[in-house]
C-alpha cells in the first residue's frame, strides 16, 4: 500500500505537468492547427521566471545581496526557505502569474514572424526559437548560465512531514490541471473554438468569412504558451532547480507524441496520452533502477517505443485513441444525433419543474396563473 502511495507521489506531479503541456499543445495543434515544435521554449521560460522571481524575492526579503546563482545564495535559501509560510505561498502564486504572463508574451511575440508562413516554416521557426532559448540561457549569467538555478523554495517547505508536503503540492497541481482542462473544454466548445476549428480546416476560407486569422492564432499562442509557462513553473518548484539543458527539443516531441496518441482535438485524449507516456517513462526508470547493468539502456527502448507509436498511430489510427467528437453546443446536446432522447428528458425535466413550481406556490399560498 505504501508502495502505491510513494509511486503515486512520484508520478502524479510529473503527470500533471505533462498533462497541462499536452492540453496546451492540443489547443494549438488539435484545434488551431498550428504545428508548434517549440513548446519547450515557453515551458522553459516559465520555469526560469518562476525560479528567478522566487529566489530574488526570498533573498531580498531576508536582506541577502548575493547573486542568486552563487553558492552562498543556495546555502542561504536552504536556511530561510522554511521560516515564513505566507511568503512561500505568496511567492508561489506570484511566480505562477508572472510565468503565465511572460511566457504568454513570448508566445505572442513569436507569433509575429511565424504566422505569415505555412505550417512547415512555422514548425521550424518555433523549433529553432526553442533551441535559441536554450543556447541563450546557457550563457545568460543572471540565471546562472549553464548551471542554472538551485535551491528554488518549495511552496510548502514549511510543512515538516514530507508526505503531507508532497500531497499538498499534488493537490495544487491537480487543481491547476483540472481548471486548465475545464477552461480549454469551455473554450473549445464555444463559438471561438469553432472558429479555431475552421482555421485548422481551411485558413483561406475562414479568412474570407471575415475572421481575423492571424490575430486569433496569436491569441491562442498567447494563452497556450502562458499555460505551458505555468506548467514550467510547477516543474521548477517541484524539482527545486532549473538548468537550461532540461529544456531540449526532445521534451517537445514527447508532448507531441502524447497528443498524437491520445487524439488530436480531444482534451481528454491529451490527458490520456500524457498518462500513458509518463507511466512508460516511470516504468523504464524503475527498470533501469532494478537492473543496473543492462546491455541496452531502457531509455533507448522507451524512445524507440515512442517513435514507433507515433508512426503507427499516424498510419493506422490517425485520429488517435480518443477521436475528436462533435462540438458540444447547447443545440447539439438537445437536437444532435444522440440528442433525441436527451431532448425528451429535458422536456420532462422542464415540465416537472413547472409542476414543482406550482406546488411550491400552492404551499406558500400564492396564486398561480
Amino acid at each position: 500500500m505504501l508502495d502505491i502511495l510513494s509511486f503515486l507521489s512520484s508520478w502524479l506531479p510529473i503527470f500533471c505537468i505533462y498533462a497541462i503541456l499536452a492540453l496546451c499543445l492540443n489547443m494549438e495543434v488539435g484545434y488551431a492547427g498550428m504545428a508548434n515544435f517549440g513548446l519547450v521554449a515557453f515551458y522553459g521560460i516559465g520555469a526560469f521566471v518562476a525560479g528567478y522571481t522566487s529566489m530574488t524575492v526570498f533573498l531580498s526579503f531576508y536582506g541577502y545581496d548575493y547573486p542568486i546563482y552563487s553558492l552562498e545564495a543556495i546555502i542561504a535559501m536552504g536556511k530561510i526557505a522554511e521560516k515564513t509560510p505566507w511568503l512561500n505561498v505568496s511567492v508561489f502564486i506570484l511566480s505562477l502569474a508572472l510565468a503565465f504572463l511572460i511566457s504568454g508574451l513570448a508566445g505572442y511575440l513569436v507569433s509575429f514572424p511565424t504566422l505569415r508562413v505555412g505550417p512547415a516554416f512555422l514548425g521550424i521557426t518555433i523549433l529553432s526559437f526553442g533551441e535559441m532559448f536554450r543556447v541563450f540561457m546557457k550563457h545568460f549569467q543572471p540565471t546562472g548560465g549553464s548551471y542554472g538555478l538551485l535551491g528554488i523554495p518549495h511552496p510548502f517547505a514549511w510543512v515538516s512531514d514530507p508526505l503531507t508536503k508532497n500531497t499538498l503540492f499534488i493537490v495544487i497541481s491537480l487543481a491547476i490541471l483540472i481548471s486548465v482542462f475545464v477552461y480549454f473544454e469551455l473554450l473549445a466548445n464555444s463559438p471561438y473554438g469553432r472558429v479555431l476549428k475552421s482555421i485548422r480546416e481551411d485558413e483561406v476560407a475562414s479568412l474570407c468569412l471575415g475572421k481575423h486569422v492571424p490575430r486569433i492564432k496569436a491569441e491562442i499562442l498567447f494563452v497556450a504558451s502562458g499555460i505551458s509557462g505555468v506548467a514550467g513553473a510547477l516543474y521548477a518548484f517541484y524539482l527545486g532547480s532549473v538548468t537550461p539543458d532540461m529544456f531540449v527539443t526532445a521534451v517537445t516531441f514527447e508532448v507531441w507524441s502524447m497528443v498524437i496518441l491520445g487524439g488530436r482535438g480531444n482534451n481528454l485524449g491529451a490527458i490520456l496520452g500524457a498518462s500513458i507516456f509518463t507511466l512508460l517513462s516511470r516504468a523504464t526508470s524503475i527498470l533501469s533502477f532494478v537492473f543496473l547493468d543492462l546491455l541496452i539502456d531502457p531509455n533507448y527502448i522507451r524512445w524507440m517505443i515512442t517513435g514507433v507509436l507515433i508512426v503507427v498511430t499516424l498510419m493506422y489510427k490517425p485520429k488517435g485513441i480518443l477521436e475528436e467528437g462533435p462540438v458540444k453546443t447547447k443545440a447539439w446536446k438537445i437536437f444532435g444525433e444522440n440528442g433525441r432522447g436527451q431532448a425528451r428528458v429535458m422536456a420532462a425535466i422542464l415540465k416537472a419543474g413547472k409542476y414543482l413550481k406550482s406546488a411550491l406556490y400552492w404551499l406558500i399560498g400564492r396564486e398561480t396563473k
Binding site: 495543434v29 492547427g33 504545428a35 509575429f112 514572424p113 511565424t114 504566422l115 505569415r116 508562413v117 505555412g118 505550417p119 512547415a120 516554416f121 512555422l122 514548425g123 521550424i124 521557426t125 523549433l127 529553432s128 526559437f129 533551441e131 535559441m132 543556447v135 541563450f136 546557457k138 550563457h139 485558413e203 483561406v204 479568412l207 486569422v213 492571424p214 516531441f253 507531441w256 507524441s257 498524437i260 546491455l295 541496452i296 539502456d297 531509455n299 533507448y300 527502448i301 524512445w303 524507440m304 515512442t306 517513435g307 514507433v308 507509436l309 507515433i310 508512426v311 499516424l314 498510419m315 490517425p318
Partner: protein, 306 residues
C-alpha cells in the same frame, strides 16, 4: 546537407526531420568499418558505403512510412510529425545498436572519427595542401556538379524536376511518380550521408551529430525558401560564413562567447522570415504585415510631419 532537404521537400512535400539521422548514419558507416574491423578505409570505399547507407535508409523510410501516408492524402503537418517519430525511432535504435557493438568490439564508438587512409598533406605545384581539406572540397564540388548535371541533363533528373513543379501534369506525360520519388529519396538520403562523412573528416562524431546539425540545416533551407536548390546553396554559404566569421568578429570586438554560434544562425533565420517572408512555398498565407513596408511607411510619415 541542406540541398537534399530542399530536394526531398520539393518533390514529396515532406519536411523531413529524420534527415539528421541520415547525416549521422553517413558519418558513422566509415567509422564502424574502420574502428570495428580495425582497417584503414580508403576514401573511395568510405564515400560509397556512406552514400549507399544513407540512400537505403531514405528509401526505406519513404517506402514504409511516407508513401502510405501520402497515398492517404495526409496533411503536411501529419507528414512532419511522422518524420519526427521516425527520427526518434531510428536515432534510439541506432544508440542501442551502438551500445551493443561497443560491448562486442570493446571500442569507444560514441565520440570518434574514422581512420581514413589519406596522407596528412600533399604537395601540389610546390604548395603544401591539407589532404583532408582537399578531399572535402573536391567531394563537395563534385557532388554538386554531378547533382546539377543529373538534374539538368539526364532524363530521370528532368522527371524529378517535373514532379516537383507539377505532379499531376508530370504523371499525365507518363512519368511514374512512385519511382521518381523513390529515386529522389535515395539521392537526398545519400547526399545527406555524404555531408555527414565530410563532417566526420574534420570533427569527432557522436550519435547526436546529425541532430545538432539539423537545425542549422533547416535554417539554410528556410533562408533558401525551401524552393530552389541554388538559393539553398546560397543560404548554406550565408549560414556557414556567419557561424565561422561573424562569431570570431563578435568575439574579438564585443566579447561574445564562441558557443553562441547556433544562436546566430537562428537569429538570421528569424530575421529572414521577418524581412522577406518566403510565403507560398511553405503553404502559408501572405498576411499583410511586412516589416520593411512598415519601416518605410514610418519613415515617410516622419518626413511628412517634418
Amino acid at each position: 546537407m541542406a540541398v537534399p532537404l530542399t530536394l526531398s521537400y520539393r518533390t514529396s512535400r515532406v519536411l523531413n526531420f529524420a534527415h539528421g539521422v541520415y547525416i549521422t548514419i553517413g558519418a558513422y558507416i566509415p567509422i564502424l568499418i574502420s574502428r570495428g574491423l580495425g582497417v584503414r578505409v580508403s576514401p573511395i570505399v568510405a564515400i560509397l558505403s556512406s552514400f549507399a547507407a544513407g540512400a537505403v535508409l531514405a528509401m526505406l523510410s519513404h517506402l514504409l512510412v511516407f508513401s502510405p501516408l501520402i497515398k492517404r492524402r495526409a496533411t503536411s503537418v501529419t507528414l512532419m510529425i511522422s518524420s519526427m517519430g521516425l527520427w526518434i525511432f531510428i536515432k534510439y535504435a541506432f544508440y542501442a545498436t551502438l551500445s551493443v557493438l561497443q560491448k562486442a568490439w570493446m571500442t569507444q564508438l560514441t565520440y570518434t572519427n574514422p581512420i581514413i587512409d589519406i596522407p596528412p598533406s600533399i604537395f601540389i605545384m610546390g604548395v603544401d595542401v591539407n589532404a583532408r581539406f582537399l578531399l572535402a572540397v573536391l567531394l563537395t564540388a563534385s557532388v554538386f556538379a554531378l547533382l546539377a548535371f543529373f538534374l539538368m541533363r539526364t532524363k530521370v533528373g528532368m522527371a524529378i524536376r517535373a514532379i516537383a513543379d507539377n505532379p499531376e501534369l508530370a504523371q499525365l506525360t507518363g512519368i511514374s511518380k512512385e519511382k521518381i520519388l523513390l529515386a529522389t529519396w535515395a539521392i537526398s538520403g545519400g547526399i545527406a550521408a555524404l555531408g555527414g562523412f565530410v563532417w566526420s573528416i574534420f570533427a569527432y562524431v557522436s550519435p547526436e551529430t546529425g541532430d545538432n546539425l539539423i537545425l542549422q540545416v533547416f535554417a539554410c533551407s528556410v533562408i533558401g525558401g525551401l524552393v530552389s536548390l541554388p538559393t539553398t546553396f546560397i543560404g548554406a554559404m550565408i549560414i556557414s560564413s556567419t557561424e565561422n566569421v561573424l562569431i570570431v568578429f563578435l568575439n574579438r570586438y564585443f566579447g561574445v562567447e564562441l558557443s553562441f554560434r547556433p544562436f546566430l544562425s537562428f537569429l538570421i533565420l528569424v530575421l529572414t522570415i521577418l524581412i522577406r517572408p518566403p510565403a507560398g512555398a511553405g503553404g502559408g498565407l501572405p498576411y499583410r504585415y511586412n516589416i520593411t513596408r512598415y519601416i518605410a511607411r514610418f519613415l515617410r510619415r516622419r518626413e511628412g510631419n517634418a
